[in-house]
Symmetry: none
Subunit: 196 residues, 4 copies
């Protein structure tokens, strides 16, 4: 797009390095408990540099959140759904993709949960994310299942939150692929029985 000088490129790279480092440490220790020094060290830069790119520690938190909207990734999961397969197959594949996404973005997810209780703006984003995920699944399922909108949305919402909770409390600690597979299979089966 733009033609950036070497210096501008390096600046951009450093900024991204800082955002990524911040996400990592925020997720591990929580926003309050991480120090700017932690972030600088994780990013491999010196303390002061953070303030060259961000107004404050809080500003950096927002940069982290802004960089990782998950919008794109969630849409992509839906797009990969395929069309002519049975709903169960589609759902299972989507949920596996969702777990992959959760694992890839574990830091982000964890941070969202950890910070959402004490930071209203973060909470908004979390609610928005759930809403968005519900919508994506809804669009896909509404034409395939015969159910009222609210009924379907509640079911989807409960499905998604169950999945995220399972990820947060089990799956990310015991990375047992078979157990996850079994869990997903059963959960999808139970989900579909709601619409018989």
């Amino acid at each position: 797009m733009k033609n950036l000088t070497n210096r501008q490129l390096q600046a951009l790279e450093t900024k991204n390095k800082l955002i990524d480092a911040a996400l990592l440490v925020f997720a591990k220790k929580g926003y309050s408990a991480t120090t700017t020094k932690d972030i600088a060290r994780e990013a491999g830069v010196t303390d002061g540099l953070i303030y060259h790119y961000f107004k404050s520690k809080e500003d950096l938190l927002w940069a982290v959140i802004d960089k990782h909207t998950l919008n794109h990734e969630l849409s992509k999961i839906a797009a990969d759904a395929g069309t002519n397969e049975p709903v169960e197959t589609i759902l299972i594949r989507m949920i596996h993709s969702l777990f992959d996404l959760l694992h890839e973005k574990a830091g982000l997810i964890v941070m969202f949960f950890g910070e959402s209780q004490r930071n209203a703006a973060v909470r908004e984003r979390l609610a928005q994310l759930i809403q968005q995920g519900t919508q994506i699944f809804y669009q896909l399922l509404s034409e395939r299942m015969d159910a009222q909108e609210l009924y379907l949305k509640i079911a989807i919402r409960n499905l998604l939150t169950s999945l995220v909770m399972y990820f947060l409390t089990d799956d990310r600690y015991n990375n047992d692929v078979n157990q996850r597979k079994e869990y997903i299979k059963t959960t999808v089966h139970q989900f579909l029985k709601m619409f018989n």
Copy 2:
């Protein structure tokens, strides 16, 4: 049981005041972001007194956790279940009781979620709580529904985590009783359809 002098009683009261204050502030701001001064002010005592009763801020966190195990409360919900009614009625009443408990212990719940990501020991407790809740519902439902143990437990676990997530992200902010009622009714309905 024990014969406490007035002074010992008052000391116990102060200690409890500190634990309650700590829970309140931890829940609001998170462990790291709350200062011992916050806690002391909330409890209406001076800063130093915390350290007369607790070795450290962390020690106080543990006292908070130890005081609020929810063991008793969860069991009580199950005991109130009644026997000769239809499962749906029982479940709905139990879940309403659960929401009451969640509201009453909101601070605790929030703290558990907020701290669990960065404190392994707290995470253990949370996992334990989920496990315990699942068990209580399982005992009640296993004799009423015809399903495999694992199948039933996964369903219950997903149900409970959905409920807690709903509480955390919606219910506690918009205290709309009707919306909650509707949500519970639908959710229970969907849950039961899994066993048709």
Copy 3:
């Protein structure tokens, strides 16, 4: 002497217990680094009781110092000197007694040295002690040796300070009786050669 009631007796005992405990802990950790709690615990009483007997921590320090003047003990060493023996024998016996005293009052000695640098009044007491020791040895030796007063006093003073330093830096850590014996014998021998 006086007829004390049981309660007064107990009070006296407690007060002494506190003074002894204080000396012990002051010697081990130094005045500044010991807490009143340390002292109370060492004495086996509760925190507040110190202030029933002493105005302040500093006041307790003075009580410690006042209780242990060493006046009496030093005089006794001189009195035990014997009369018709050779000077060397007398000196060696006195110095052995001095070492016994140093060991017995190690805590006090150590405290005097530790505190004297930062507390002028303690320093006075220390200078006084050295002066007193010198005088006691002087009285004994002046009639037995042919030397000028100043010459003799300097010799004695150097002898005594050497002995105390030996005690502080060696003897109290390696309680090797033979090594001490050898050291005293040689030191006395060298001391007496000054007067040939």
Copy 4:
């Protein structure tokens, strides 16, 4: 040796300023009784800066000790001894140099004594210093006096500790040059008589 930028030089200077300030205040008040604020004020910097250079107050104590080993200074005193003069002249000159050193390093000496009773590692250093001083004097005197090694070493050790004690308890408070001169002259005279 190293090429330091201005900034690095200034940093080094600040660090040294802190170490010197610490020595000064530790000597005056003792380690426990001096506050980090005292040190910062003495060094003319703000409180927090101490922790940019040192991990803790204790760490600063060690930096103080490490910076002032006295190794070099003690050796220099021996080197200045001269060769063809009578022992008495040499000794007197050395001891005057030693007193100059003691005065110059009074803070350090005082701190060593004050802290050595409650800090084993400091005590080690003190013992080492005495040992080292003894050795330096021994090398010089062993070829000039006819005496057994142990006999000579005990004499030297007692001489040195006497001198230090004289410095600590008298000389540094009444800075009377004549009195010191007289004391040294007599003490050296007495020392040499041990080898007649």
